[in-house]
Amino acid sequence: MITLEHLTKQFGDTGAVEDVSLVIAKGEICALVGPSGAGKSTALRLINRLIEPDSGRVLINGEDVSTLPAVELRRRIGYVIQSVGLFPHWTVARNIATVPRLLGWQRERIDARVEELLDLVGLDSSHGPRYPHQLSGGQQQRVGVARALAAEPEVLLMDEPFGAVDPPTRRSLQSALLDIQARTATTIVIVTHDVDEAIRLASTIAIMDRGRLVQAGSPQEILRHPATPEVADFFGGPRLGLRLLQTTEAGERTDFGHTIDGDPVATDATLDEVVARMVATGATELPVLDGADGRHGVISLDDVVAR
């Protein structure tokens, strides 16, 4: 879907991005992770040509983005920034309609799309006529996401989208994003320095440091086989075990066939939630229910710990 080929960009003497190559599959969430100044945002902006590379190229669906007019390219790619950047003088609905209007959609089609998007990001239509300053930070970022998705882009770029909101709001925004991604199958590239956010959201994590791509792989792979001591330190550290729990779903460790009494956990709950429940209730075994086919099972503390 998105291919970065030997991308290099220098600002003055310092290399912001140095020889980065990465393939992002269609419909996945890829997180660019690293300390500040690692070149994550620069790499992201090279994709929609807010920055032009010194060398290398970006392909989207096999098409070299440098061959497309930049403005046209950006209208096809959703873009969300940390500061949200809603237009303060426009209503929520008008903000969301930005790209469809730029593309010259019909009025009725825009109105219908705005309604649909408000619903998609978990706002109701009463928010449409309000102004950005009348919304909370979390609601503003939901509008930011809705605006980015307005013209049904195949690719959504997010630059530390949830960095400025408080932790509970961040969690609910992350859930909303996972839900949206499941419904729309948009390919998402998200820049973050929050390791937990990357593990929670991404199917592929690309770790950058000082402009270079250090390692790319699934969260499991990176946690289990970190390429360098720095990666091990950045990702695992003392919380390695807890983060591994976050990457595995209960269904993978459940013994189906028998069941026990109690409030069941879902098969798609992650193991850290299972452990949390066990600690809270004092039980070492919990019933599991597969919401999709109604199978029952049991997960024990031993199953959770087993590698």
Binding site: N48, L50, A70, V71, E72, L73, R74, R75, R76, Y79, I81, S83, V84, G85, L86, F87, P88, H89, W90, T91, T98, V99, L102, Y131, P132, H133, G144, R147, A148, L157
Partner: protein, 399 residues
Amino acid sequence: MAERTLTIRRSSLPANVLPVALVAGLCALTLLASFVTVAPNRLVSGTPLDLWRAAGPAGCLVLASLAAIMAGIALTPSMPSRSLLQAVTSAGIVVALVATAGFAAATAMTSTTGTSALTRVSLGAGFWIWFSIGMLVFADATGRIKSLGIRAGLVIALFGALAALAMSGALINLSLAHEFIVHRDTYLDEVQRHLMLTTGGLLVALPLGSVLGAYALRRPRQGSTIFAVLNIIQTIPSIALFAILISPLTMLVGALPALRTLGFGGIGAFPAIIALSLYALLPVARGVHAAFQAVPASAISAGRGMGMTGWQINSNIVIPLAMPTLLQMLRVVIVQLIGLTVLTALIGAGGLGTFIFNGLGQTAADLVLLGALSTIAIALVVHLVLQTLTNLLTPQGRR
């Protein structure tokens, strides 16, 4: 909970009691002061006539009842559309006051023994205190009205009523009117000249100041130097600046006589416009700087990221968001320039200042007043028009 008890207590005891009592006391005091003064001619100081003797029982009754209505409105708790009623009543007071003064002048001219064509009836301290209070209440009350249409309507109605009063000849016996009639031939010329000088200063300052402001936005370090220099210019007393400009400009014209044929020189309109534009540079540059500084950078980068062209970013985001501050700046600059232009009469540039300085020279207070009131009226009209425009052009999300 605590807040609620506080509100109840506040509304049970009208908060307006103190200011109303103060204003009432002030108005009562003016009954002793002169409402108009009657002088045998324009140069000597006259004998004061208090409100009772000047306006007669009928005039006093009208003013007193209007004042009582206003106090009643102010003191009634939770009165619906209080601001509108207050605005209408205060406008009524202002109009009644001016009419009373005109009536008092007419009576004084005819009834007082020993009057002649030279007798002058001028407005006294009592009139001006009532007039200022009335205007103050009117400005305050209209400012509280939300609807822009009603606000504009009230202002136009008040000015219209005053204009109609003046046209009807009811004020013809006031010495202010005498001065106007005497100077009728030059009055419009001087108004025109005044506006020309103000516009000239503005037309020079707007592009220059905008460029300086925009430059300061791009280069903050050089920008602070620019603002430091402009600040220094601003601190030069205006009369001194006019004087400073005379000799270099005279020398310039001496060196290049061709300039003189174009109307340039050390005195007159040319140095006046230069000085006015120098004063306007700082507010223009500051306003442009502040207006564009206030446009959120995140909105611009979001616009770019979503595929707006540079032109679309300007027309959709930058200009609408900067417009309210720009208009505000324009209003402040123009009003300031209209006031400053008065002083240009000192270097022979003309304008309404001519009346003021002639009046000062002849100790003819009403001639001074003619120039000053005209200047104030022009500034006020410009202020109101630009204020309305600003309100109309301020996007809702920014109000």
